[in-house]
Symmetry: D2
Subunit: 273 residues, 4 copies
């Protein structure tokens, strides 16, 4: 590099020299066997070492969505994929791609919490009152609150509950989490849905927001958390004798319309063959 | 660039200047509206303009696997994907990833045809005799011949049949195609399976080999060919009201084993909590 | 299926029986060699046969973003990908995944055109006046107009220009396209940027909106259009001798911070090893 | 399900009831906060709880390829991807797709170790003699041994070294690992390359083979291990102001050929426009 020009690339994540890889400045050789993987995740993404409590919190988060049987779109998509292309890499990428607005991505909830929490802090209002005001406003605009509700769990989402317990025990629970719970409380009261839970994605977002993660980073963590299950499912599928999975006829119906191509091309102005 | 150093990147596919994009040396502005898309595909990949017959052959190939309803792993995977992550990009990437060894990828057949055809040519033997010898050898080694057989079609694969007719009509059918048919004939005779077809992927590989495509390029063409159907399915799924598709209970069964975590951790040497 | 239950899956895209695949009701065997691929794309996605003019328009659209050398993120990403994982499937999926908000995805422009055009129609105002009003409002809200501007082309985007010429020649150009041009005109006037173009993605969106495509379908078509170039680049990369591409040192700079792991763990409350 | 029919789907990985998710039979609620994530990975994939030593080994493996700066194709591909499509999901899938034959995938080495180790065991020969015989045979067939050599590290790969130390300390190192080292020793002796290392992927394969993982599962674990770095890089890229990354002109060169489309179409038999 000439000294004047700004380089096209730079990164503070890591660098390599002839003796080692330096991750956020620490030699990888010293990290392996010393830092637990969840603490290493925190270091890589947040660019500083976690406290032991933060590391245990990360560990709990990484375990919170380990698998969800054949009830998760990404898992089923991955198994279909490898029934045609028997590749772990393709199967895992497929599962990653199924994470989004409707499932497993905490970024929407993370953005919601971060933004509304900042407004609440600036307002100087009591938390409950401000939460009620926000929920009423959202309701009148027809907007939903991300991270609430679950197709299977009522009153309690067991994974969310464990995350909350851990956050409190490890000293990670904080004001942003309280704020999100206040919003939840205001919502189930206003909507008259007392059994509607904060789901695992919602609590994950609240705790990760409290620890300073950005919304895209939250989704990154959630994806890592879901991958042990994906590896297990893809491996199970690869070891099965099933190839080229399809939709079984017992659960499908087709209109089976039949049309005349030449007739319709003529009508569309194509002239006869 | 200083003139001495070899540049890290170079490409002969296209270049851009301030007035246009030059694709294999031709101005894109002149291509649009002049070259049919299948001819443009040929130009991009084979680095020369096709003859009109080669262009019509490409057109037929690009239409040959337009869709296969819910009987194709990639389509079903893509629909599961977008039921969680409502994104056309994610759905299309998922469908691409499901193309592989067991479905829709002509590269195995392409490599088989190219390699065995070269051996046949070098042998100086009559085609039928050499094909019988090859098939017998493969059988004794327990090896399969790629591109033969179809779960749905017997005796005739309608898509394969149309590709062959087009190849003959357009003057593209050639010796490598004849060779693959000779191998097929020897195989169904030796195996006693007269209704086993050359499938659409097999014929696609034979014709593309004849036109000079490499095996990975064949798979690239097959993927493009399959994408109109994928776009249609993903759009249909996005417009449906279905979110978070799962495996319906009517077609699933779970062992539902229940174990004691603390008991088993103790047995595994972890000590009591 | 029992007649009462709603099936979990249904599709109107195609169905398969023992003799053929029926695409939107037409036998695939009749489509191959009869319908040009761009017309088949239209049929699959729009669920009806195109007129000959619509088919030629689709052909021009499919040729409009055939390649953009090493100046497109998806192409470079795909080449890096296959330098580690030499797979056409992986390379193509990677290129697909790089299509999005900042490049090659017409869905934002498509949504903008569809929504603002509907407002204009409902307003009863003259087009120019309504466009000026909209642009002024967007400017005051700090919102951008999708599909305008290009890093390389000024005054004229040659691809956009050809698409417009084709749309007019084929009778596809219409009121929604005029509306988008009126918005563009109002914008460059208000912003004082006379050389700011409607780019190829903007025109593609306008023409596809006019032909009734939904925004996600527009992105699907744009992706298909870009894939011949991707296949060519991936093939070129696979045939190169380059493996494991990295960022060359000549264009990179690293902070190379060095920290003491044990020291910093102790400070973070971990206790000494 | 009627009791006679075999269900289309079944899985032993997990199941869900109204109160919890059961992972390999254990309630997820009990796992979170009790099992470290590496132990949970082991449980999911190997379908049994690990010993504490196996869990610590998994932890070390998951930390061994945390990042490799801008010297890894997948990281660079992911950053190019999100410079066009600013999505964590797309960036992570891209990085996953770059794992393969030339980088980061232990499956080749895993298959090699598993298969050759079985032959060695069956042979009854001394390990060193059998390793020399194998290496000589591979050399004469021009075959490479997967997992050996590294572009940056000589004599010692610091990550591989730490994995070996951990495996020995945790009682996981075993006969299959010794066998792979014997093959390495025979190879560097025969090839006269004393500074050629067993790289991190090779050692990872040996240790995971020893713990009973299949080759695709090994690749799954390696991918999880690489993702904290990917999340960090994608986040850094998303927070940069860089959009639409390209190949800088300083490291690229283009032939810039210019051809006459009408001329060449005429030569190819198309007739004049």
């Amino acid at each position: 590099m000439t000294s004047e020009a700004k380089p096209y690339w730079t990164t503070a994540v890591s660098d390599v020299d002839s003796s080692d890889v330096y991750v956020r400045g620490y030699p990888l050789k010293e990290i392996v066997g010393r830092l637990p993987f969840p603490a290493a995740c925190f270091l890589l993404i947040r660019a500083r070492l976690p406290s032991p409590g933060e590391a245990r919190m990360m560990d709990a988060i990484l375990c919170s969505v380990l698998d969800y049987s054949l009830q998760k779109p990404g898992t089923v998509a991955a198994r279909y994929c490898v029934s045609g292309n028997p590749s772990m890499v393709a199967g895992m990428a497929t599962a990653v791609l199924s994470v989004g607005e409707y499932t497993l991505a905490p970024d929407d909830a993370g953005r919601f919490i971060t933004e509304t929490y900042a407004v609440y802090r600036a307002s100087g209002e009591p938390m409950a009152a401000q939460a009620e005001k926000l929920v009423a406003a959202l309701k009148s605009e027809g907007k939903r609150i991300p991270g609430l509700g679950h197709p299977n769990f009522r009153v309690i989402d067991p994974r969310a509950q464990r995350l909350k317990e851990t956050a409190i025990a490890e000293g990670v629970w904080g004001d942003a989490c309280d704020w999100y719970e206040a919003v939840h409380k205001a919502f189930i009261s206003l909507a008259g849905k007392p059994d509607l839970v904060i789901n695992e994605v919602g609590i994950m977002a609240a705790v990760l927001a409290q620890m300073g993660f950005t919304p895209p980073e939250m989704t990154g963590v959630a994806i890592i958390s879901s991958l042990p299950g994906v590896v297990a499912h893809v491996s199970e599928e690869l070891q099965s004798k099933q190839r080229i999975r399809v939709v079984p006829d017992s659960i499908a119906e087709y209109p089976r319309s039949r049309k005349d191509l030449e007739e319709d091309l003529a009508s569309a102005g194509w002239g006869r063959k």
